[in-house]
Amino acid sequence: MEYMFFIAGAIAIVATVRVVTAMHAVHALLYLIVSLLAVALVFFTLGAPFAAALEVIIYAGAIMVLFVFVMMMLNLGKADAERERSWLSPGMWIGPAVLAGLLLIELAWLVAQGAGAPAVRQSVEPKAVGVALFGNYVLGVELASMLLLAGLVGAYHVGRRRADETD
């Protein structure tokens, strides 16, 4: 399991880097999907199979499909890849790299302090997730549901056909 975790983690990192550096939007998206699948495997090796399954079903299997759907409609070609290349000039990297480097140092320091205790090697059953969600975190669930409802109403409003419009 330990090796699985490190392999999946490495794949996630490489794929995520490729998401940023890939010139073609659809290829970048494919790397993002790979990254999500790798993260799902990380969850699985950490003993959270339920979270892993949901990661694949919701993120990789539904949300990313919508991304792909939109990308397909944009008809991106060579010109867009060229423009993308011009945006990714080396100077661009300095700011994010410094900030990310600081985070990395912080993380390394925390790990060195022993704060990152070894992950609990005990599988979390789906039932336990449900009990926690609708017990301790019920307020969060309700807030999320309201947010989703707002999104639903908004989408309905945008897509609504006015009375004076016909086919």
């Binding site: 659809v26 494919l30 199979p49 339920f50 499909v65 792909v68 759907f69």
Partner: protein, 320 residues
């Protein structure tokens, strides 16, 4: 046998049998369609035309592996592999009989849903990478159709999960020892079957291919082996959906007298024949009809089923 040998035997046994069944289905489907449409179907090659499968295979392997110059090559090659791989991997959790089956996951049902939700990439990316208008239209349709029907495909199964109290497919089968879930979950069964046909893009829901309007939809630019992968993926998907319906609603391997494996095979075979009959009998709807049917009829039905089942389960639960 040692556990490892047993595990390997299961893995390769299931793999070989599933692939063989998928190949054989090419012949079975054409013969059955012929029977129901009052014509012969393939009956020339070998006894009853059985060797037609072999002939088709040889033909498909011998064809030139053609990549259109205008296509996105990497994605074009990747796309058909996705559908074949995810449907085969999903078979890993199907409990065929006690002791037969590749793995026993405690989230088996979710694993099946996860794999079937990844299958959509195959069609969408194949349609996009081909860089042709018919393929793109087919890809669009596939993405919208599969995403829509996937929503209530998952929802329709939650009634079963509530009654069985687990996502473990073996435990779900065991929970049906006294009563198959098709009785208390008849609505769930109907919704799941319809969603399953749509997920596997079988006629009448084969809008992503729709030969009459889109040439061949998302796989217009595919030929030879790559087309073969799409084709095999579709048949594996058909077997998979039938096996899942048997597992979730028809008591899996349970049944009197006969050994468990036989029951599982018989039930699955009957369902496959039923799916082929549907193909022979039903016309293809318009695309907007398909979408309206999914979102306005099937989704509310699945939600009502979920709410009613939940209420009954809570009402019958012993008070704390």
């Amino acid at each position: 046998m040692t556990p490892i040998a047993l595990g390997l035997a299961n893995v390769f046994g299931v793999l070989v049998i599933v692939l063989a069944v998928a190949a054989l289905l090419i012949w079975v489907e054409r013969r059955l369609l012929g029977l129901w449409q009052d014509r012969y179907g393939p009956n020339r090659v070998g006894p009853f035309g059985l060797l037609q499968v072999v002939a088709d295979m040889i033909k498909i392997f011998m064809k030139e592996d053609w990549v259109p110059p205008f296509a996105d090559k990497a994605v074009l090659v990747l796309a058909p592999q996705i559908i074949a791989i995810v449907t085969l991997v999903a078979f890993a959790v199907v409990p065929i009989a006690p002791g037969i089956g590749v793995v026993n996951l405690n989230i088996g049902l979710l694993f099946f849903l996860a794999m079937s939700s990844l299958g959509v990439y195959s069609l969408a990316l194949g349609g996009w990478a081909s860089n042709s208008k018919y393929s793109l239209l087919g890809g669009f349709r596939a993405a919208a159709q599969l995403l829509s029907y996937e929503v209530f495909m998952g929802l329709s199964l939650m009634g079963v999960v509530m009654l069985a109290g687990t996502f473990d497919l073996r435990a779900i089968v065991e929970a049906q020892r006294h009563l198959w879930f098709i009785v208390p979950q008849f609505v769930g069964f109907v919704v799941f079957t319809i969603a399953g046909i749509a997920e596997m893009r079988r006629l009448p829901f084969d809008l992503p291919e729709a030969d009459a309007e889109l040439v061949a939809g998302f796989h217009t630019e595919y030929s030879g082996f790559k087309f073969g992968l799409f084709f095999v993926g579709e048949y594996i998907g058909l077997v998979l959906i039938c096996a899942m319906i048997v597992t979730l609603f028809l008591g899996g391997w349970l049944g009197p007298w006969l050994p468990p494996v036989v029951w599982f095979v018989v039930k699955t075979a009957v369902l496959i024949a039923f799916f082929i009959l549907l193909r022979a009998a039903l016309p293809r709807p318009r695309y907007d009809q398909l979408m309206a049917y999914g979102w306005k009829v099937m989704l509310p039905l699945a939600l009502v089923n979920l709410a009613v089942t939940g209420a009954i389960v809570v009402a019958r639960a012993p008070a704390h």
